[in-house]
């Protein structure tokens, strides 16, 4: 399996904490949201993130077992505070 470099969008407090609005994560094919989070947690800056942040895939909240596909738009979503 060749790892696929996947871009992950960051927002608000998470973007501030990591100092960037996107990070690149290397994932095997058929990786899940849980796999993605494990990779993100391995990043040096990820100590600032909670252990299990929400993830959106293609602009929808995604459960941990959702399988990622190449070209998916992936984002880690801080606690929302709209309104």
């Amino acid at each position: 399996m060749v790892p696929v470099v996947t871009r992950v969008l960051l927002f608000a407090s998470y973007a501030d904490a990591l100092g960037t609005s996107a990070i690149d994560v290397a994932l095997p094919e058929r990786a899940t949201v849980a796999d993605l989070l494990a990779e993100v947690r391995a990043l040096a800056a990820a100590h600032a993130l909670p252990p299990a942040p929400l993830v959106a895939v293609n602009q929808e909240y995604a459960a941990l077992d959702v399988v990622l596909r190449e070209g998916d738009e992936i984002a880690i979503i801080p606690p929302v505070a709209g309104g």
């Binding site: 969008l9 927002f11 608000a12 407090s13 501030d16 904490a17 600032a48 909670p50 252990p51 299990a52 942040p53 929400l54 959106a56 602009q59 929808e60 909240y61 459960a63 941990l64 077992d65 984002a75 979503i77 801080p78 606690p79 929302v80 505070a81 709209g82 309104g83």
Partner: protein, 160 residues
């Protein structure tokens, strides 16, 4: 039915006009505004940001749910992002129906769901010059504890 993230002031009267119809006997409007005090701290303004594409998609989902649940025939939501001063509107929701019950019920549903699910964030600016991201889930953002359980979706709704 329209849901939009905007970067300019929200015109509440325009939203009222947008949902107007002779078929409606009742229109409900909710306006969320920047408050001068939050959690006991004096606030001077709020910076809102959003994952705009997803926020609009999620707001549209909520509108569709309201249409099914309450039969509202006209509803529009605008959420503003950027730097807002005290008293400025961050969100306006207009709903209309032949009767008041569905118009009022749908309006409340929309603001409650919006606050639980729509990816918008705010950073409060305080009089002492500091600023902080707001985490309505309890802990201040970035305080260490997880804001949500693994795999949980905001609001507990089933929108897989």
């Amino acid at each position: 039915m329209r849901a939009t993230i905007v970067e300019r002031p929200i015109d509440a009267a325009a939203l009222l006009a947008e949902v107007a119809s002779p078929a409606h006997g009742a229109t409900a409007l909710f306006v969320g505004t920047v408050r001068d005090v939050n959690d006991g701290r004096a606030v001077t303004g709020i910076e809102y940001s959003a994952y705009a594409a997803m926020a609009e998609k999620e707001m549209r989902s909520i509108l569709e749910e309201a249409a099914v649940r309450f039969g509202v025939t006209a509803a529009v939501v605008e959420h503003r992002v950027g730097a807002l001063a005290l008293g400025e509107a961050s969100v306006v929701i207009a709903t209309a129906h032949a009767h008041r019950g569905p118009a009022l019920d749908a309006n409340r549903y929309l603001i409650e769901q919006l606050k639980q699910r729509v990816p918008v964030w705010k950073r409060e600016l305080y009089t002492d010059g500091t600023r902080e991201w707001v985490d309505p889930s309890g802990a201040r953002a970035m305080a260490g504890a997880p804001a949500s359980a693994p795999g949980a979706r905001p609001g507990g709704a089933s929108h897989a």
